[in-house]
Symmetry: C2
Subunit: 372 residues, 2 copies
C-alpha cells in the first residue's frame, strides 16, 4: 500500500527513484515513528522495484524487526550517508532522483547535487491529506483518549492550582493510558487566555478567571487537538457575549460545510451525468466564521480558522483566508475560532472533524461546560 | 549581548542584514522559547542598527511583553512574510542578506531569491557552542532537577512495572518541579536495552532484567541528558563484564581529556609567551573510548561517543570518529559509551561534562548503583 503511494508519485515525477527525507513522510511510508522529528536520522530511497531505508546503528534492531518491506542500510560516522547513497545509485544505475525540495535544506541539496546525475523536485506534503480508514481510526482513538483524560482533569480545577500543575495532571493521565501528548498542553488562566499560544506557567487560578485548555494526544503516531474555554465563577455578560460569539462562529462554519455537502450530495443523486460539484473551499469556511466574529463587533481571528491534522498536528488542508485547499472526503481538520481581548482574556473553541460519506463528522467530544 | 553576537556574524558575512530562521538561533537571540521547533513560526532580521522579529498574531502579546529589543512585525495569512519582508528591505535599502542555508529549504530559498537583491550564505550552528555562564547555570539546574527526579523514580522500580509506567512517573515528577522533559524518556527493560534508541513500551520488568534509563530535563530552554543502566536481580558475570567495560571506556575518555587539559595548563603557566596548545580533538576522545571497548572484544559503539548540548539536546561539538571539532573552554557535551548485545541487552552510561577554567567538570550526578 505505502509502496504503491510512493511509486505513484515516482510515476508523476518521471524519475528513477524518489528520496524521502521529511520525518512525517518516513513515518507514513514505514509505519515507524521513533525517529527524531528535529534531526535527520533516516532516509528512504524508493525505486520502481525496491525500497531502502538508511539509518544509523541506534535503530538497526528496531528497523529490522518492525520495517520489513524496506532494505536496511546502515549509515553512520564511518559510513556517511552521501557516500553510501552515491555507491547505491551508481551500482543500480539510478540517474534521476526526485527530492523533497520543500524539506531539504540548501546545504543538503548541494551535497546531493554532487552525487545525483539528475535531480527532480517534488513535494510529499499532500500524500497524507486524505486519510485511510486505518488512519482515521487512530485519530478517533487519540480524540477519545484525550476526551477521557480531559473529563478526569476537570476535578483538579480549583482555586490556587497553577497552569503548569493542571497541564501536568493532564499529561500524567494521558501517559497512564499508555499514550503520549501530541503537543505540549496549553493551559491559560485569566488574562493569559488572551495569548492564543500562551506558554503554560506558574499563574495560579483565581475566582472569576477564564480557563483555556488546548490539548492533544498522540496515538500510534496520529494526533488529536482540542480546545475548551471555561469561566471559573459567575459568568459576567462580557464573557457570555464573547463565548456565544465564538460558539456561533464555529456553528456557522459547521453549517456552511454541511449545507455544501448536502448540495453536492443532491446534485450527484439527481442525475447520472457527471456533475461538477461546487468545490468546498477551505477559505470560504474560514471566511464565514471570521465574518461572523467581525460582524459582532470583535477583531478578526488572529490565526487560521483551522488546520488539517494527522501524523503532524498541523498539516494540509489549511482553513485560512488565503488557502487554496478544497475540503473533500477523507480529510481531517480542526475548526477553532477565537476572540482575544488583552485586558480581559480570550475564548477559543476547537474541535476536530472529518468528511465521511459526504457528511461532516465531529471527532472530539469533550464537554463544553463544567461544574467546578 | 545577543545583538552583538548577531552583528559580529553580520560583520563576517559582509551583508547588510542577516535573516535568522533556525528555531534554536531564534531562542538564543531572543530568549523566547515558545515557538514550535517543527514549524516556521518566526523570523529575525538583524541589520547594523535594528533587530526585527516577524511572527503571527498568536504570539503578539507574548513577544511584545518578553522580547523588548526586537521590533515586532506581525505576519499572517493576509500579511504574508515574504511580502512584508520585501517591503521592509526596499524601504530600508537593504540589498544583501545573509541566510542560514543549512536551515532554509530549497523552496524557501527560491522565494527569498525573488525578493533579495544579493543573497549570502551563512551558518549559525556554532554561535552556541561556547556556553556563557548564564547558559551553563541553566544546564546545571536542568541536570540537578533530573538527578533529583531520577533518585525519586528508583522507588517505583519493581517487578511488573512497564517501561512506559516508569517513564511516566519520571515525567510526572519533572513536571511537578515546574519544568519539562528535554526529550521523551527512554526506558528499556531486558533485551530491549540492546536497542540504543528503544521506543519505551509496554514491556514489564522481570527479575534479572537489565534496566536502561535515558532521560533529560529542559530548564528555561536548556537541556540535560543522562543515561543509567542497572541490573534487576543478582548480576551475572556477563553483565558485570559489559558494565565494567562501558564504565572503564567512559573513564578512559575522561582521563584522556583531563590529561590533555593538564598538559595545556602546564604549558600556559610555564611561559608568558603565547604557546600553541595541543588541540583537544573530539575525535581523539571518541577513539580512546571506542578502542577500549573493541580491545575488550566487543563490537564498536554503534553511535557517537558524545554530543554537545544546550538549547538542543544534540548540538556541536560532536565526539565521533570523523568529527573535526576541538574541545575547548565553555563547551558542554556528553560522554556516553555503550555496548549492545541483541541476545542479552545493552549497557550505556552517559554523563554531561563541561570544560571550565581548564578543568573537566561533571554536571550530572545520578547514582550508578541502586538497591531495589
Amino acid at each position: 500500500m505505502t509502496g504503491k503511494i510512493a511509486r505513484d508519485i515516482l510515476a508523476t515525477t518521471k524519475a528513477d527513484a524518489i528520496l524521502v527525507t521529511s520525518p512525517e513522510s518516513i513515518i507514513y511510508l514505514t509505519g515507524y515513528g521513533n525517529f527524531s522529528k528535529e534531526e535527520r536520522e533516516a532516509f528512504l530511497l524508493i525505486t520502481l522495484d525496491k525500497s531502502y531505508i538508511f539509518t544509523d546503528g541506534r535503530y538497526k534492531t528496531a528497523i529490522q524487526k518492525q520495517v520489513n518491506d524496506f532494505i536496511f542500510i546502515e549509515i553512520g560516522s564511518l559510513k556517511p550517508f552521501y557516500d553510501t547513497l552515491s555507491h547505491l545509485l551508481q551500482k543500480n544505475k539510478i540517474n534521476s532522483v526526485s527530492l523533497e525540495t520543500d524539506n531539504l535544506t540548501v546545504k543538503e541539496y548541494s551535497e546531493f547535487n554532487k552525487i545525483i546525475t539528475q535531480i527532480k523536485s517534488t513535494t510529499l506534503k499532500n500524500i497524507r491529506v486524505i486519510k485511510k480508514d486505518s488512519e482515521l481510526k487512530k485519530i478517533k482513538t487519540a480524540c477519545k483518549i484525550a476526551d477521557e483524560a480531559f473529563i478526569e482533569i476537570l476535578s483538579f480545577i480549583k482555586t490556587g492550582i497553577t497552569e503548569k500543575e493542571l497541564a501536568t495532571e493532564f499529561e500524567y493521565l494521558v501517559n497512564k493510558k499508555g499514550v503520549s501528548l501530541s503537543f505540549e498542553t496549553i493551559v491559560a488562566f485569566g488574562k493569559n487566555s488572551a495569548i492564543p499560544h500562551h506558554e503554560t506557567g506558574s499563574q495560579k487560578l483565581k475566582i472569576n478567571d477564564i480557563i483555556l485548555i488546548d490539548c492533544g494526544v498522540n496515538y500510534k503516531n496520529y494526533c488529536s487537538d482540542m480546545t475548551r474555554t471555561f469561566f471559573f465563577g459567575s459568568q459576567n455578560n462580557k464573557f457570555k457575549k464573547i463565548y456565544s460569539t465564538v460558539k456561533k462562529s464555529q456553528m456557522e462554519a459547521i453549517e456552511y460545510i454541511k449545507k455544501n455537502l448536502i448540495l453536492d450530495g443532491e446534485k450527484t443523486t439527481t442525475s447520472k451525468k457527471t456533475i461538477r460539484k461546487t468545490p468546498l473551499l477551505a477559505s470560504s469556511v474560514d471566511r464565514v466564521a471570521r465574518n461572523f466574529i467581525v460582524s459582532e463587533g470583535f477583531q478578526t481571528i488572529p490565526h487560521s480558522l483551522g488546520h488539517g491534522i494527522g501524523i503532524r498536528v498541523h498539516e494540509s488542508p489549511s482553513l485560512s483566508p488565503t488557502s487554496k485547499d478544497i475540503l473533500t472526503e477523507g480529510m481531517v481538520f480542526s475548526i477553532e475560532p477565537g476572540i482575544y481581548l488583552p485586558d480581559l482574556g480570550g475564548v477559543r473553541i476547537e474541535d476536530l472533524f472529518t468528511i465521511k460519506s459526504n457528511k461532516l463528522l465531529k471527532l472530539t467530544d469533550s464537554p463544553l461546560q463544567a461544574d467546578f
